[in-house]
């Protein structure tokens, strides 16, 4: 059976550094940090008091108040970014068969704030359960995919992918696979997360995962810097329209890039720590290259998982060196989490967008906040520190790794 080619025909982004794809991309290239003191709740007693929150955003500018009330923030973010991508793709203008358009949407956690609020109401009451009828359908992680399908009448495959911080790359890979198998003509994919809540920040603080650099939030996310001290929690969403190449050509769609391949693997080692030699990370990049029928030398840019945690930032470059050998000194590497923070289940989606736009514009966004080299990291590799770099980017690879040991890599290439 011949596999179909899959292309990217629409993008949407709602991020801590920009509320549209254009704003996001410009902020990435200019090296802007999205970190600031937390506004959504009083964090004064928390070990970490800052995050990368969405800014200047009023959901009522996008969604009717009555409908917005029934959506957890992670679904609101999903709707806003998916709408941008749908409009961008002009997919529905061609009057397609909506039975063959699906939605596969990732989120690491889902409606955490909804769960927190309902539980708080119950604990503040006299023990009589008075749970809101919208509680469960607001909270469950698959509901964002449901809402997107309802808004646009998309009756194809529809579900959520959950693999912590790899969730939306798993969504993208699943969408890619279903389209190339001929199971759908187009799929709205990506992911969203809204965990900057009391339980989200408190929980990740409990894990000792977050940076505690409260005196300088904007320099806290510093992947590969010697003094990194944890990740910075982010929130938001990224959306991609993946489409069968022939379907896209037939309707005269604008094409950003081709999806070349995807890889998936597991560390099978520890619930939160990466394998010290990056075995899962190695395997997943090898799998993705094999799937894309590309050689390591073909890759120009790797958007790394690079979360600014002490262990992860050592294991991943080791894995890159193992897979890419000498070529690891020639390609560009960057962690855009230095600017956006870590969007958990939405990270893969916004980082895929960074890769796709790097391929489209031949420029690599930077890893900002580099001050001091870490002797445990091979700094002969080009981490694109502090400033964007122009170069030909024919092929870009995006890595995302999740708690549980889930590893995913997706590869995008110029359409030829």
């Amino acid at each position: 059976m011949e596999l179909k080619r899959v292309v990217v025909t629409g993008l949407g982004a709602l991020t801590p550094i920009g509320n549209t794809v254009e704003e996001y991309w410009n902020a990435l290239l200019s090296g802007k940090s999205g970190a600031a003191p937390i506004k959504q709740f009083d964090a004064s007693k928390f070990k970490t008091q800052f995050a990368c929150e969405i800014k200047n955003f009023d959901v009522n500018d996008f969604i009717d108040r009555k409908d917005a009330r029934k959506l957890d923030q992670f679904s609101q973010y999903a709707m806003v970014s998916a709408t941008e991508a749908m409009v961008d793709s002009q997919l529905l203008e061609s009057n397609p068969n909506r039975d063959r358009i699906g939605v596969i949407w990732g989120s690491g956690i889902g409606g955490l704030k909804t769960l927190q609020d309902e539980h708080e109401d119950f604990m503040n009451g006299d023990g009589t359960p008075k749970f809101n009828p919208f509680f469960i359908p607001k909270m469950i992680v698959d509901i964002a995919a449901g809402h997107i399908s309802i808004k646009y009448g998309l009756r194809g495959p529809n579900y959520a992918t959950v693999s912590a911080c790899a969730s939306s790359t798993n969504a993208i890979i699943d969408a890619f696979n279903l389209i190339r198998l001929g199971k759908a003509d187009a799929i709205v994919t990506g992911g969203s997360e809204a965990a900057v809540t009391i339980m989200g920040v408190g929980g990740f603080n409990g894990l000792r995962a977050l940076s505690m650099r409260n005196d300088s939030p904007e320099t806290a996310s510093r992947p590969f810097d010697k003094d990194r001290d944890g990740f910075v929690l982010g929130e938001g969403a990224g959306a991609l329209i993946l489409e069968d190449y022939d379907h896209a050509i037939k309707r005269g769609a604008k094409i950003y890039a081709e999806v070349a391949g995807g890889g998936m693997s597991s560390d099978a080692y520890h619930i939160t720590a990466p394998h010290p030699d990056g075995i899962g990370a190695r395997n997943v990049m090898i799998e993705a290259l094999k799937d894309a029928e590309l050689q390591p030398e073909d890759v120009d840019y790797i958007n790394v998982h690079g979360t600014s945690t002490p262990l992860g930032d050592i294991a991943e470059p080791k894995a890159i060196k193992h897979v890419f050998g000498e070529h690891s000194y020639k390609l560009n590497i960057s962690s855009t989490k230095s600017m956006t923070g870590h969007l958990l289940g939405a990270a893969g989606a916004i980082e895929a967008i960074a890769c796709i736009l790097a391929v489209k514009h031949d420029i690599v966004p930077p890893t900002i906040n580099h001050f001091t080299d870490d002797p445990e990291i091979d700094n002969k590799m080009n981490f694109t520190f502090n400033k964007a770099q122009k170069r030909k980017v024919d092929v870009a690879l995006s890595n995302t790794f999740g708690f549980g040991g889930h590893n995913t890599s997706a590869i995008f290439k110029k359409l030829k």
């Binding site: 009717d64 108040r65 009555k66 009330r69 008075k130 809101n132 009828p133 919208f134 359908p137």
Partner: protein, 78 residues
């Protein structure tokens, strides 16, 4: 407008996102004000909370219009 009625009306406006003029005594939650079954359950819960009463499920089924809600609450509110 009675105090109870104005409180009922403002809950409906808030939860269903409708205009005050639409919330007439005869207006049906589902037929006129765009509520689905979950919206109706939520409305009943909001009335219970606002007026500190318990509306049993078999009674709640009979509250389908603004007027029926106001009468039930007027009768049962303490």
């Amino acid at each position: 407008m009675s105090d109870i009625k104005s409180r009922v009306v403002s809950i409906i406006i808030d939860k269903l996102g409708v205009e005050e003029a639409e919330v007439t005594t005869e207006a049906s939650f589902t037929n006129d004000l765009g509520a689905d079954s979950l919206d109706t359950v939520e409305l009943i819960m909001e009335f219970e909370k606002e007026f500190n009463i318990a509306i049993p499920d078999d009674q709640a089924e009979n509250i389908q219009t603004v007027g029926q809600a106001v009468s039930y609450i007027t009768e049962h509110a303490k």
